[in-house]
Symmetry: C2
């Protein structure tokens, strides 16, 4: 099986969060197809365990017009390592710093159309410092036990892919 050779690449949009391009590719049967591709920076996400509870943040997501619960996460700054970004986002969104941290998964959120990659970390030895919110963010933090997390999943209240991955890992693996 072959890769898809790019024969043309058209830039449609360059934004703050995403770029969009349309590639024309040659398939192995010598046919051509268009690929609409959303370029997105990598992100770091953190499963932070505090006294056997997980920190979740609740925020409004315009793309789906809903408030949802998610693990703390955010886009990597330029030249920032994933682990550094995970710790920074944890502190910005919840006020906690973590003494221990390790990478548990790396995955693409939607490789059919986007290159967004998430580095998911697990952290412990949390210490509360202070909350210094991002200007555009309005975030509420909750802490949930394993029973509460399981119930949130079972009742369909966890609707974010990275959060579902983190909680399934924490609960079961």
């Amino acid at each position: 099986m072959n890769t898809e050779i790019t024969v043309k690449s058209e830039k449609i949009f360059e934004g703050k969060i995403v770029n969009l391009r349309v590639d024309t590719v040659e398939l192995e049967n010598q046919k051509y197809a268009k690929r609409e591709i959303v370029e997105h920076k990598s992100a770091a996400c953190i499963l932070a365990v505090n006294n056997d509870k997980i920190l979740l943040v609740r925020q409004y997501r315009k793309a789906i017009e809903e408030f949802i619960y998610e693990l703390p996460a955010g886009i990597l700054n330029i030249a920032e390592e994933p682990q550094e970004a995970a710790l920074r986002e944890l502190e910005e969104e919840t006020g906690y710093t973590a003494g221990k941290i390790k990478l548990i998964y790396e995955f693409y959120t939607s490789p059919g159309f986007s290159n967004e990659k998430v580095y998911l970390f697990e952290a412990s030895d949390l210490v509360y410092k202070a909350v210094n919110f991002d200007e555009d963010e309005c975030i509420e933090t909750i802490e949930v036990t394993k029973d509460e997390a399981k119930k949130m999943i079972d009742t369909g209240r966890i609707t974010d892919s990275k959060t579902l991955i983190g909680l399934l890992h924490w609960l079961y693996s």
Copy 2:
């Protein structure tokens, strides 16, 4: 906490797979922000269990320039129910039909910038019919045991979010 009121919405691109728009929103502090939003149709994905093995498909994903293993999945056709789409994609991609199917999770792949929603089903009682590939798809199917799936996850070979969710559910919950 308030929702973000749209004060302006600019359509940037309308494609076959994605649309892109930029909304200007009013935040609760009366500041304004831009939201770059990728509209994507909902998708159905299927965790198909055949003799205690899971069906995975391997295909090239242009957005990440890699071949990866994924659960069979695809975009819902117009007026198609998620379950119908899951069974159709299973048959198109692997040649199997399923006698039993149930919804296990609904989630957004990346709600920070996209409204793409995935309906994840678990299916069993599989019967092999025939493979009728989509024109632009070049797909290879493999069947993996629980030990093999666990090893693929532990060695970082499962890099697709919906597939990680399905396999973690199958292995552990």
